[in-house]
């Protein structure tokens, strides 16, 4: 089921629990005076994305690397970012999998509204200033993961 609108009343109880569990996420949130979409995207980022892309969006380098989001030129294209989140890219998991596939891999899957929030968030944080905003409808128009699980190279 897709959440088309996300009333704040629904979100609020989560935040209370979040504040107890994740001090760091809470600190970040306190400094953000943003719309609900950004707030939700910040939660997704701090609970999922930053595992690899790091809290500061600078990525990391080892035998391979996690790309930095700060100053990432590919962010100029919201389509590229959206497709990457939906379908995964190289080692990155897909977050737009079907319910079945996500269950099989015990992964997280985001709906189009959440992907839109996240795309907007990434393009306007970590020093990025791409201010055009996309909506769930825009994301719905992007290629989602195929049934055959094809990914982006």
């Amino acid at each position: 089921m897709r959440i088309a609108a996300r009333p704040l009343a629904l979100l609020a109880p989560c935040l209370v629990v979040l504040a107890c569990n994740w001090a760091c996420a809470d600190d970040r949130r306190a400094s953000l005076q943003v719309a609900a979409g950004d707030e939700h995207a910040a939660e997704i980022y701090s609970h999922i994305c930053q595992g690899c892309h790091m809290a500061n969006g600078r990525g990391a380098v080892g035998a391979g690397h996690y790309p930095a989001l700060a100053g990432d030129l590919t962010l100029v294209s919201w389509e590229y970012v959206g497709i990457t989140i939906l379908r995964g890219r190289k080692g990155m998991p897909a977050f737009g999998l079907s319910a079945d596939e996500a269950k099989q891999t015990r992964s997280v899957h985001l709906d189009d509204a959440e992907v839109a929030d996240l795309v907007n968030y990434l393009r306007r944080h970590f020093g990025n200033h791409y201010n055009s905003k996309v909506t769930a409808r825009d994301i719905a128009g992007l290629p989602h993961p195929d049934a055959d699980g094809e990914r982006e190279l």
């Binding site: 080892g62 099989q104 891999t105 015990r106 709906d111």
Partner: protein
């Protein structure tokens, strides 16, 4: 994928789950078997390659279990072998953290292991099933001593936060009650002739007999408080000696309570092919196997070598690498052939001139998220207070497992348990935390099962596999679709390059997958090298 009905959102419930209010861990094993993990090993004894063509050489990338298996067998066949390894140690995911070890994860946070002497955490593999003959054969060959890994401990717990008021239940009680009630139901149906189509009159009596024995039923085929059932689930007043210890039977939990608890989901974990007794662990930690491999290969392994480019042409393969400790200055290593065991998320980023089928396959496999947390406690309270000697407690909390040490029983000093083995989305969340936060959450969750935690906790180590600089994930996560499309292309030779590792096996996440894929790869490599050698000689003649 435009079908909204099939795609569920990160709902409020999901979010709550995400942040650890509730979670599910036991479905994991079912999911794993459906992904092709629960497969037997095809290993059928040591391979024996005939002599290598004169002067033939192989470059092995990665000194994990697969890479070192390949290197060892090829060296023994007479190939000139060189191994490049990113880490300053061998083993890869075959790895044990012990006192004094330092580990820096991606993002730069460093942990120093402050466990007591002889205590350890295996961040990667921790058990070897008896039928994983490949990895066991190398342990035997190297003289690595093994001891029993306890998978099923009847006195450990099954725990569901939403059942029995959140109180952990002993495995023995849930197993006995689940089995006993099911046996009683079947016996009833049999007696009422409801199974006539499936059971002949002749078999009927035998079935009833067997159900009585299987379920510990009384002579009326009921599963009730009785001597029979207490000999499975335990006594209310235990048996003992003298006048003070006459046993009284215990009362089983109702069928409905067992069913609603969901705890039955973990009862059969030890029946899975890869979890069946006997299982083993190397004495001193899983890393002993990797260390033994490394001793065997000696100077063939070049450490701190970060591969940045892989080129092949009609003559051979060249890897360009830089010193992982001082980037910038590159060197090259060349050979006739290359066995590449670099984990796919890293390999996908290294320029390499292979054809489209292999390139697509390399990019097709994301890696599973997993986190392991080791907790050192001031005393072995699980043994002293709860009589839990080794084995595993399963819980629906994000920590999913509590693994008790299968060694050092009755030690008077400290002890280290595996406090968390986190999977899937919960693991992504644990990965997003700092090591200290992961340890803190692990202690918090575990306190729901062992109230002694806060009092006895000493220190911990937390390894999130997506933060591992040398794998960028835990293991290759194939789906039915991706396997059907890409698996053969991943394993097939691309001119002079062949891949090996658990990702190139149907034994994903198991060391046996690494061993058997390496043996398969070097066998094919050898056949090619010999054939080419013969062609070359033919051309000269």
């Amino acid at each position: 994928m435009g079908d909204d009905g099939n795609r569920s959102a990160l709902s409020r419930r999901d979010l709550l789950r995400l942040i650890g209010a509730t979670a599910g861990g036991s479905a994991m094993y079912q999911a794993m078997s459906s992904l092709g993990f629960a497969a037997d090993s095809p290993y059928r004894g040591p391979i024996s390659l005939s002599a290598a063509p004169r002067g033939a050489s192989v470059l092995v990338l990665g000194a994990g279990v697969a890479g070192m298996t390949a290197a060892l067998e090829l060296r023994d066949a007479g190939y000139q072998v060189q191994v490049l390894e990113y880490n300053a140690r061998a083993g890869g995911r075959n790895w044990t953290l012990r006192a004094g070890d330092r580990y820096t994860e991606l993002g730069g946070l460093t942990q120093e292991c402050r466990f007591d002497k002889d205590l350890y955490l295996n961040p990667g593999p921790w058990r070897i099933p008896h039928h994983h003959r490949g990895i066991l054969s190398y342990a035997r060959r190297f003289g690595v001593p093994l001891e029993a890994f306890v998978q099923v401990n009847y006195n450990a717990y099954l725990h569901n936060t939403k059942a029995f008021g959140g109180k952990p239940q002993r495995y023995r009680e849930i197993k006995a009650d689940y089995q006993g009630h099911v046996a009683e139901l079947l016996a009833k149906a049999t007696k009422q002739n409801e199974l006539d189509e499936a059971v002949t009159t002749e078999d009927r009596e035998k079935l009833l007999q067997s159900l009585r024995q299987w379920g510990a039923l009384d002579k009326h085929h009921r599963y009730v408080a009785s001597n029979e059932s207490s000999m499975r689930r335990g006594w209310q007043t235990p048996r003992g000696g003298g006048l003070s210890a006459r046993p009284t039977p215990s009362t089983p939990v109702e069928l409905s309570d067992v069913l609603h608890s969901g705890l039955w989901a973990s009862v059969a974990n030890g029946d899975e092919l890869d979890m069946q007794t006997a299982l083993f662990q190397p004495v001193g930690g899983m890393g002993r196997i990797g260390e033994a491999f490394a001793r065997e290969l000696g100077s063939l392994i070049r450490y701190n070598a970060k591969v940045v480019d892989i080129r092949q042409d009609e003559h051979g393969v060249t890897a360009t690498y830089e010193d992982a400790q001082s980037p910038g200055v590159t060197q090259t290593a060349s050979a006739d052939w290359c066995v590449c065991t670099i984990p796919l998320p890293i390999l996908a980023q290294i320029p390499m001139n292979v054809g489209t089928p292999m390139a697509l396959a390399i990019a097709a496999v994301p890696y599973a998220s997993a986190v392991k947390v080791g907790l050192q406690f001031k005393r072995r309270f699980w043994e002293q207070d709860e009589q839990i000697y080794g084995g595993i407690t399963y819980t629906d909390l994000p920590i999913t497992n509590i693994g008790y040490p299968n060694t050092g029983y009755h030690g008077s000093g400290k002890g280290v348990v595996l406090g968390a083995y986190v999977w899937g989305r919960d693991a992504m969340e644990f990965t997003a935390m700092t090591p200290d936060e992961r340890i803190q959450k692990t202690v918090e969750y575990g306190t729901q099962i062992h109230p002694q935690y806060p009092q006895e906790f000493d220190n911990g180590m937390a390894v999130a596999w997506h933060r591992s600089p040398f794998t960028m994930g835990c293991f290759g996560l194939w789906t039915e679709h991706s396997r059907a499309t890409h698996y053969d292309n991943l394993c097939a030779f691309d001119n002079r390059i062949v891949l090996a590792g658990e990702h190139a096996s149907f034994l994903g996440a198991w060391q046996e997958g690494g061993v058997t894929s390496a043996l398969d790869a070097v066998t094919r490599l050898h056949a090619r090298a010999v054939a080419q050698g013969e062609r070359a000689r033919g051309a000269q003649a």
